[in-house]
Point group: D2
Chain length 346, copies 4
């Protein structure tokens, strides 16, 4: 006997997280795609914009003003920051559960959020009730959440990498470093000069060293894990690949620890975190198109410096895949439903 | 009620067509992967070589000399040219059906094959009985075939593009041109200087203009469709992408024809050929990771020159995916079983 | 004794042809960069925008309205189409010579130009006097030209490839095909979705098959060479590299010809056209950063189909380099002055 | 009056450092290329192998056994590790000066070298007299050196980035981290699977975390600068670009320092080190093809963590360009002779 399928809406379906949600949800066995909105493309068939979806998605983009989202069981916001907070209260009131893939509900401290996002928050009270959707940290709360704040891409890779160390209290929390590298799809599908092929191709650079919006999000998570203030340096880089984040994490070990055993134990029941063998180097392509985070932990030259390597596909575990994982948890489906995606290699 | 699963063997599992077969077959509902051979990597766990398969494939590479292939229902050869012809007779004799992804059984004319492949053919009689595995041309014969010669990547894209024109006899068969572009994975996983990232990256070139091995294979197919000799020029190029073939085909129209209607009619029942709307330009990424061939037909400036654009993923419809499609046909599974792969975009 | 240096102005210095002109001219021994205009970036130091030019260019972008261009000896327009035609008459009147790198003066037939560029031409009389700046075709006229229309990138590669065949009248001019592939920098530095790394990367597609603006420009040139009407099909493609055009040309030989000798003879005195040995395959990286066009000619399988392979760097021989070559000719400098740029490989 | 040109020999001209030496030296005004050796390609014209050099290099590869290197004024070794140490003594004895671009003479401590390079050193005494060719550190000694050990690519980027901090003694030398990213050309032109386009393309990974050969070389340099033992962690990564190294360096500030002023003062007279403005993010393409190292220094969030960003072209400042810079110093040419190469952007 098949349960009734969930009616799913997507607000903002023309960006990369939107099209990735479509890729995952169009073959999800428990889901019916019901409505997809786009201000700019209303009336256009989705498959005319993304020919990869021909034969899989027969919806047309709907004007947000006309979209009937309240009939949905769940709505995903794949919108720029600041949109979801305008529309979420109304949906929640009508019993529609919400997952926001943008940053509106990620940071609990409202002044911090307002400083980094340069906006006044529209509904601070909802931030309080929102659940940060990192299943490996918050699974229980996600189950009953009405509103889930889906984590950012960098924050997912970095937090999963530091989590075992901080929970076990084995590193100096005053000096944590994340040197992170992202593929260009992380910048979204916006037409901007710095994301052009001729600018980002055959090129490598750091950016946002003075401060990146994912810094306070990660700091909040690390503080939670460490049960106390942390000193954290975050340096993001742009690397010429389409999908993928590689976070290289550095910390100072303060007590003798079997790091391999620690990581394996922490993640042994997690379907979407894969701890590699000692000495391994995960590569971004090994998770291309999949919801897996692969992690390896090193202690080079026997020093007290711990090096953690953590890779994800920024559009899957770093965005749409994790959102679907959260939906599965919220609706009590097996957590991997629709997410057994074998990575595309080469 | 579930039918008994097919026992499947793969000979030569370490190249790109091998790992792609594994990606497809490891989640195919009607298949049990039984044995994978590799001369060089015997004893190594498959997932230790291809970390993308961790959690999906738990087999270990077996030495070909020790592999028990005769217990399989079907064996795929993902080997260099000249291997399958040594081992196929024995398998067929024991009732094992065979799909060769290399070129051993593709060309019916033995002297032609021996000239282009610089080898003496080991079993010309089997070439006679082998079925050329292009389902859109040979579906009926494939159903009962014991031995299928899986087409080459270029030949798949080019033949599917020319087929409607030649079958309908509307172009000058004396002057057919295929200007084809392939991603670098088409060259395989061999360590060769010209396939290095620093050689093939940020670079574009033609190669094999004087003669490429896929030329006689395509000519054979075009001759069959045209029911007569054809004049055919084939110029392959290497383009800096990993997966994808784009064939741009030129022919001279000899009778007024509604080309769009011709193509749509020809392929209306084909699950894996998608004729785009008039004026469209298929892009390789729209089929990345999927078994679809997308085609558009143009008649620029109202001249009598027909331009057909045909794209495939060379490792899927151009190799492993088509092999699985053939297997599905041979064993009377729905043709798309295990092949409903939504393309990865971006 | 050093001749007085030319005073050079550039209108529109922020696009790729602009920055490429700067790269070439900042070390040109006979040139002083005098003024560079930009509407959007006035006041910004050029080297703050393009850090590659730090230490080489100390100019600041000037507002076009304030720029004193009439003091220059020569002005390059590296602007969008339709700008140069507004400003050229004034400069010419004041004795300033002009090279337009856009399309305003390339096409002699005004209605054709107006149809393809969707504008009314501002100065049809100047089109008449403008010289099409393909030195290998028009060197004598360029010497005394006051106004040079610098050829497009595709037209340069295609015309140089067809020229020996058409001048010698050895091919069927009714059926000429150019299958051309361009790197993404050909689309310029405009922020457009289709030029994003995540769109154009790892992807290959044709575009503009129904009609591209370079079609009438090339047709005009081929008609001139053939001394009569030609049938010409032009299919441009976008390939994931930054710089480079590869044109693959097809024609039908109508008289027995030593093609290799024909090409070598035609270009033996041309510094910037390099005819490769028989059987060679030029690659785009072999001209990366240089003003060379490399060409190889094939007659595959002994058929009557001629295949010409022609590669250039679209920003150099296809734009800024050819403009400097034209400037050298106009001012009677050795034609290769400032253009002995060894290609960057790998 | 022109000084007599130097006679230059290159041993091992077929790798990337070899062809890059050729690119630079073929237009160097004080140099005559005299002999280039290659075991595998003896008899082949250099320009037949590297078509980018057509018209610039007319030499043919010579068998090493037959090459008359002793007539040269200087010989560059662009060979695998372990070759130069076999041939250097003989050349030095005959008055030929030598620059080794491999690692044979870089590490002063012989047991350390032998451990990391898994060979017995053939001439430990020459290691003692060899000068480590980092001009910004060792210029005076290079002037009179008979034998120069040209630094590795990572070591160049990392040492130039740390040098001002260590010389000024303003950071904790016990906890230095270099997170370094290299383009694929750093792996050389060897045919190896992991350097294939389909392996290294669209992929990012760390490698050698347990220990990379450049670790002891960098440690030696940092120890020299710090005048004492350092704690140093080095994590190299492979990024999908052809040329370029980006080193991101982390250190802990131990006294209040105007970092920007410190770096500017240290490098104000260095032609090939460019300190960017405060807050800048150097990108690898800004030095593509040039001998410049661009550096920016940050102190994010006002913490005591210093972040230095240092970029070079691994084949130029990281190999062949620095070798030419060393040659210029050794022969008292202006240090930038032949090295005023404007970077290629885009």
């Amino acid at each position: 006997m098949q349960t009734q399928k969930l009616k799913v809406g997507i607000v903002g379906g023309t960006g990369y997280t939107g099209v990735e949600l479509l890729r995952l949800l169009c073959v999800h066995p428990n889901v019916t795609l019901t409505v997809i909105t786009s201000r700019g493309e209303a009336g256009l068939a989705v498959a005319d914009m993304f020919s990869s979806l021909r034969g899989y998605v027969d919806l047309t983009f709907t004007d947000p003003a006309l979209a009937n989202l309240t009939d949905c069981d769940i709505v995903f916001f794949a919108t720029p920051n600041g949109i979801a907070m305008q529309q979420t209260r109304d949906l929640l009131t009508k019993g529609v559960r919400v997952i926001d893939l943008a940053a509106d509900f990620r940071i609990k401290d409202i002044p911090t959020w307002e400083k980094w996002y340069s906006m006044t928050h529209a509904c601070p009270d909802l931030v309080t009730t929102a659940v940060y959707g990192l299943p490996e940290m918050n699974r229980e709360a996600i189950k009953t959440a009405q509103l889930v704040a889906n984590p950012g891409c960098y924050p997912t890779a970095v937090q999963l990498g530091f989590m075992p160390l901080l929970e076990a209290d084995v590193v100096d929390t005053g000096y944590l470093i994340a040197d992170a590298k992202s593929g260009v799809s992380g910048a979204g599908r916006k037409a901007e000069v710095h994301s052009l092929f001729s600018e980002a191709g055959d090129n490598f650079k750091a950016y946002g060293v003075a401060g990146h919006r994912h810094l306070p999000e990660i700091s909040q998570g690390l503080t939670y894990m460490a049960k106390g203030k942390v000193g954290f340096t975050f340096v993001p880089h742009l690397t010429p690949l389409i999908r993928g984040i590689h976070a290289t994490l550095y910390a100072k070990l303060i007590k003798p620890t079997d790091l391999q055993a620690l990581f394996e134990a922490r993640y042994k029941d997690e379907r979407f975190v894969d701890v590699l063998a000692k000495g391994a180097h995960p590569e971004t392509r090994s998770v291309r198109g999949s919801n897996i985070c692969r992690i390896a932990v090193h202690q080079p030259q026997g020093s007290d410096t711990v090096v953690v390597l953590s890779v994800i596909d920024n559009l899957v575990k770093g965005a749409a895949g994790q959102a679907v994982q959260n939906m599965n948890i919220m609706f009590d489906f097996p957590e991997n439903t629709g997410l057994e995606l074998v990575p595309l290699l080469p």
